[in-house]
Symmetry: none
Amino acid sequence: MRAKGVVKRQPEDTRRRILAAAIAEFTEKGLEGARVDEIAARAGANKRMIYQYFGNKEELWLFSLETVYEAMRGEERGQEFGKLDPAEGIRKLLEFNFRYSAERPELIALLNNENLHRARYLKRSKRVPMLHSPLLAMIEGLLKRGVAQGIFRPGVDPMQLYITIAGIGYFYLSNRWTLSTIFGADLESPAALERRLAHMVDVVMGYLRA
Amino acid sequence: MRAKGVVKRQPEDTRRRILAAAIAEFTEKGLEGARVDEIAARAGANKRMIYQYFGNKEELWLFSLETVYEAMRGEERGQEFGKLDPAEGIRKLLEFNFRYSAERPELIALLNNENLHRARYLKRSKRVPMLHSPLLAMIEGLLKRGVAQGIFRPGVDPMQLYITIAGIGYFYLSNRWTLSTIFGADLESPAALERRLAHMVDVVMGYLRA
Amino acid sequence: MRAKGVVKRQPEDTRRRILAAAIAEFTEKGLEGARVDEIAARAGANKRMIYQYFGNKEELWLFSLETVYEAMRGEERGQEFGKLDPAEGIRKLLEFNFRYSAERPELIALLNNENLHRARYLKRSKRVPMLHSPLLAMIEGLLKRGVAQGIFRPGVDPMQLYITIAGIGYFYLSNRWTLSTIFGADLESPAALERRLAHMVDVVMGYLRA
Amino acid sequence: MRAKGVVKRQPEDTRRRILAAAIAEFTEKGLEGARVDEIAARAGANKRMIYQYFGNKEELWLFSLETVYEAMRGEERGQEFGKLDPAEGIRKLLEFNFRYSAERPELIALLNNENLHRARYLKRSKRVPMLHSPLLAMIEGLLKRGVAQGIFRPGVDPMQLYITIAGIGYFYLSNRWTLSTIFGADLESPAALERRLAHMVDVVMGYLRA
DNA sequence: CATGAATGAGATTTCATTCAT
DNA sequence: TATGAATGAAATCTCATTCAT
């Protein structure tokens, strides 16, 4: 509000830069491995600002997690898979989940770390829990229409299916570093990612077929 | 031979206690969150002994990871799934993977943390990488026999299938804390675990059916 | 500008106090014997500041060594012995070296310790190596003029002479504690120091005389 | 005394090996830098033996220092410089001191470290202090005869001369690592050592000449 | 006499957070 | 709003010495 001389004061921008820096740092090093100093440096901001805006490291962690999670869910909702025909909808949902996570390591990294803590921080979140219901409703819709069309098997639980759709790609992406080491294979090349995606589609569609 | 709780001057026993304590601590808090002091206390050992036997925290981490991983692989090998009939073999492999990880949180916790570091430590391991080949051979054998019997689809990649078998349960178990929070459901009860396992079997067998 | 003992939030002052404390501690106890805690306490500073400003103990050591060494060389250069007449110049150089080291134990203590490590740290220094050339040029000038005047012998190597000038006093000062013990004499009294200086002048001038 | 089975028990040999190992370790790393573990390892002995034979690290230090010092003094006495003609005696004394220290870094390293502590340990020694008197008497004899022969200047203090003879080489050897760095010259080559010795002889003989 | 596992105290270094400016 | 120096607590790691065998 005060316009003092040459000093630029852009609180919202500073805040945004801190959040972006935090997500990057947390993604690379986890909650315990991340350094507040490093986040400030990456953000080109003063450390004090982190405390000003986010309270402390743990609150910043939760905010980062919420942000990353909501971004994914928001984009997912925007795709409107529910309006596609059933097989196409499931396939696109699979594809979206896989490609999104493959391109953005943040979500998996943060979720894994949060699960190490048994969702201690996420449990406090007021933003995240209500995000899932439309997703399950959408899957349920696709399944019902697919069954009605005689192409999907009946009796599939939408939540289990969603966990399978997410998990069948998540494990591959999340664990690709140890898997590559263990199998002595390169699971990270674009070709390898496409092969994985094709397999995933085969599995889920093969399972669902009537 | 002697069954006394904490025995002194028993180097092998001290070493074993430290390793067990380290695995427990790393499982709960990760590499960065774990405290060397706490590991020593849990082991009923002097901190100095940790450095004597394992060098430093990071080497202790690698050793813990290797130990946990090998224990699982060893038990897996011992099951001899390759000798069962094809459908039974795949089903048992799925079941084994799921139940084993459900009962022992160490493996998932350590693997997730190791993947955060992009397998930095595991890459140095001389014990782990060669463990997988018999596993893939076994899966390949099951697939071939299943195809020959006309019950499995042809053209399934053993490695992809293995990753699916592992991943379809791994994600559920690894992320059950955030998933429970997000879905507002209890995914940890024995009944929930059994439901998940049944779904997983449905998915994989549904996919594989000819 | 403010002349208060321990002033807070004065980074340059804190830095200076740490350096002074480090030099004192290193002088008394050597690199390995010195304690970082003790340096912080002497400096009236937080231990953390040492790492902030100097990186670690070894870098602080190098910085201390460089500082002490440069201080001596700087003062030596300021004396402008090269402008005196030859005999006077050599005599003053001898005297300066001896009195300077006698009054300030830092230089000898730090150099001895650094030589124990075979100059491991000094080798990394970017500040120190180039300081000597004007010194040798100055000695060479004195020698030449002395020879021209017929009072000095010809053929004296400036570097050897400098090492002799420094060493003839250095050994006495550096080893005065063991020498006193061994000879059962007091080599530290002002009178003893003057006697030594007189002898040193006799030796060097006696040697140089044509 | 007891000859039990195959176990070799050679107390005197163990003791000797520990002492040699200690001298080597102290020479390389000083009193504070030396590690008791390392001394035991170098000696191929058990750490406990060090305490058995020498009490503790500090007593082992003193014993090492005394041993090294006496070895030098003993060899020096054995040379019987006092029986040579005066100029030759002084020259040989110089040469002996220089070559002896050049070949055996122990003495200088240990003395420097002991002087850092202001001879704290040596002061307790009962073996060392009485060693010097014959040395001074010998030098005094050489000087007297030289003066009588008209080749040496009169009035030279034997102790000062001895300190000069020792110091003029000691500084060069002790500080050769930092001097080499500072002068950018190699002071360690055999040729460089010979040049230094020649200069030292010139200085002392030049000084002494009548 | 000999071993080497074990110990406690303390070393260096790190970190989230606060405070003076 | 912004800075970055300062802090205290605690982390990892080290060491001389002792003790059970």
